[in-house]
Symmetry: D2
């Protein structure tokens, strides 16, 4: 389906949630994850099995990790001789991370993306200064995202280990997956779309980044708006990489979903263990908790999303 | 109640969980938080109200924060002219933190504390090198801590805003609080003890650190072992600060609870909003999720614990 | 001598070097330190005694160091077991610093200060984005500052260990010092003004920052312009701290000297050893080398200025 | 010339300077750079031309820079609205670096290398803990290295742009270069050996690291000891990379020169501009100043060596 600049511009306007929750709103689609929906998601817990959906914090440079996280020891087991507190032996450390890298499981705040100089709800990009974001920071999610998670496992649907990096998931595939897995994506859900990237990376290593990355076809944007998801996530970055870009729309999912719809994105989620657990539990929905750190002015945060069945 | 070095040494031995879950175990008391208990905690959710129990990540130096977290912008709204990806406008940042500071809500891994050169389960301190912890790292909690949280609100019990910094909470007070709040701490619970420190700090500022800090009396250590809590937390650091120390036992709670019992600690938890919510919901137990980052070899992690009522 | 906003504004205009070395110049008064002057300074070396003029890189928080430098070991002597290169045993580390703190010996680049939105030579402040300075960065000094250093030791002149923090050094004192020490400040010199702050801090600790800091009286600005110094430095920050500020002129020396004159500043230089060496060598001029790191877009750099007699 | 493990072990013993300057010495061969030699080097200055011998601080990942330096703005030109000091407009930044990378011009401290668990002068490796080096840190060079630099330009001698990466510079070549350039390396000199790597990297990019790197043949070790150089440097790392290693002697130059001889090494020096200046000035010796930061416990430091002709 051919899509040009005009199509993107009209789509961006069509899916806009600006003003929907008030002119000063900074939570965007998180407003759809009401307390009732959180309670309903908790009520769905059966076995109590918990699954981490995060990659290990990558501290080593790789083709998909040019800016590794830092991890330094401040005090290790070798420092008892330097002990400032006699008789108190401890080890402590420091870590630092630029969370938006392709190797880090992270959440994107609504200040992460601008289109034509504006963020979600029409806030000017200049509200993000070198002192941080004055508006739309990750603090909008500081009280925690706790709701129903739904995994649409496209490789399982296709009977493959992972999708071809050129593949763009269509609306038809999302709905086919819903039918096959017996789940329907609805308002306030956290939708996770598995492309098999995590498994592929494990099998063939970080060099695969050079071969592109599967993602959602741009046609899914209006569908996501119709379903009113609260959060969208993927083991990739939801946007496909490596296809031809449309001028001004280098990452249409990021641009339309974050900026127009006010939907927080979860990037580089590790879905290998989760997909296996879904098969074993024979359910593709679960209680999902994402708890970003309270980073004032932050553009996002590394997170460790935890699913409970 | 007078307590000397001998008392601590015999107590340390008495509460030891070394070997209880096998010679190679690194999860310690997290083994008590079974899937059944996680499911039961989720089943207890009623209103779906979520409460964050973390302090804002402190990036400014203060008497209780000599090593502030770092937060730097990599790309702000002023960089569209420097845009490497034409038409894609974004803001990104970096943060770094030495999590064990007194101003950071964090979890202590079982490698954080050594007594006489040994960690939990008898692992040698030298297993923590300048490359990180080879054993007992925070990865033991990587799949997430999701269970029943219980708040024992001692200032409320005493009818004060916050406890005197010299105060040491006794077993009698913990049990009085249980009775008054209609909750009983049991195996696999995440026990949070409110001392009012967060409220005090808000009222009088970070300088209060110089005046000491309320904590648990050392007599509580065997009680915690008897109740078999999975995790212990406080708005302070569980240990009281400012009293007279016993040689070799500068922080008896840390030393006995982490090292002997294998209980992860939550330090500097913000309990102001949680305590208010408990009163409004008239319940002092809730579903609590703590999801440390997957920091290989880490001695702990900043976290944003999320309670759901 | 009373000085109001008008006086500062006219002085700022009077001492301006904008355009003096061309409209695109970024070196400012470094242009005055010609190769001939460098050679003359080297020819002045007699005994070959070298003196470091830097403070130790402060990694501990203090009243004058709210943002300590970081120093972390990557590999220490405890890591031979983790050795990636068999038989090759090494130790390595990481350090990081926000150089403009009051505890760091550093050089200020010409992009460090703006007045009314403009830097030296009329460059717009917006040329410094969150990606760094596109103009007037520390790279202007990347080839090294190597010339004649002159120390004007005011405490010695006054017969005191250190100046009162409220003291503002006058033109008369500078010229008195020249006469007493037998040296005349001239074009292309690196002028170092000793206020005794380093000695005072060593005697009474970092808390002295709360009591103010001696500096140059604003009347010295035109004098510095007349003498055509290449660089100005002090054991303080050249500006006095703690006096009453004139609206819009919080740091007149920084604002007039860096922004109008294009003179790089050396702040928090350790002059204790240098002052002693000058007495022993009975000379108050020497070869001084300052070699900032090649930090693209940098606003300054920590340095270790080295004097040779 | 075949060299086995025995040869290295006997060479290591033969060139040892342990004890030469006393059992507690930490300066090693820097003791050879006396004040007289510093004065003589300054007296050799003619034109006053200064040349920086450092690479730009590399903040971007590359095959030879897996751990890039960090450079973050704290305040940029966009923050005047957030100004804590009314009327004072400034830009400030932070940088951090793990200096021993292959892309950073740095000096190696004598605690950087251990052989069989010992550093220079027989100090135990365990003196370097996760708190830093208690002995042999970079502070040994804190007063600055200021002496005669000598460039032996091997590519120029061979009439090539750069040496083949498999090339190992021999004693014969060093002495041929001395004769051709009219300079003799002597006690207390800072010897810089040009292999053309900097020029090669500029021509073909950082990927060349995969093809190896020219360096000094191990036979040069005794020669360096006989000439009594104070410091050794190269545009590579003095050791060749990519040849077959002898068990236990992965980097013989580093191991013998730093550990046995107590000679500080300068790695990844940018010699392109210096080599050109030498030709234009028709001299291959100059005043060289290297001023490491005063990093307590540091294993080395990034530096910007400055040559003056």
């Amino acid at each position: 389906m051919a899509r040009d600049r005009d199509w993107f511009e009209s789509t961006f306007e069509r899916v806009k949630n600006w003003g929907r929750w008030g002119p000063d709103d900074e939570r965007g689609a998180l407003n759809l994850l009401t307390a009732d929906r959180t309670a309903a998601a908790a009520a769905g817990v059966r076995t109590g099995r918990t699954v981490s959906c995060a990659l290990d914090l990558a501290t080593t440079a790789a083709p998909d990790n040019p800016r590794p996280a830092e991890h330094f020891m401040i005090t290790a087991g070798d420092c008892r001789g330097d002990n400032p507190l006699p008789g108190f032996e401890q080890s402590t450390d420091f870590f630092g991370v630029a969370c938006h890298g392709m190797a880090f499981t992270h959440i994107d705040a609504l200040c992460h993306i601008f289109v034509d100089g504006a963020m979600y709800n029409g806030v000017a990009a200049d509200e993000v200064s070198s002192h941080g974001a004055r508006r739309n920071s990750i603090m909008a999610a500081a009280s925690g995202i706790c709701g129903r998670g739904v995994l649409l496992d496209i490789p399982r649907l296709r009977g493959v280990e992972w999708l071809d990096p050129a593949h763009r998931v269509t609306i038809a595939e999302l709905e086919e997956a819903e039918a096959a897995l017996g789940v329907t994506v609805g308002p306030g859900d956290v939708l996770l779309v598995n492309t098999g990237r995590s498994r592929w990376r494990r099998a063939e290593g970080p060099g695969i980044i050079a071969r592109g990355m599967a993602g959602l076809d741009a046609e899914c944007v209006p569908w996501l708006r119709d379903r009113d998801v609260a959060v969208l996530g993927s083991d990739g970055i939801s946007d496909g990489l490596g296809g031809e870009a449309v001028a001004g729309w280098a990452m249409p999912i990021h641009q339309c979903v974050i900026c127009a719809m006010g939907v927080h994105l979860l990037d580089n989620v590790d879905l290998v263990a989760l997909a296996e657990a879904c098969v074993e539990e024979q359910r593709w929905s679960f209680l999902l908790t994402v708890a970003p750190l309270r980073l004032l002015g932050g553009t996002g945060c590394v997170v460790n999303p935890v699913a409970v069945f």
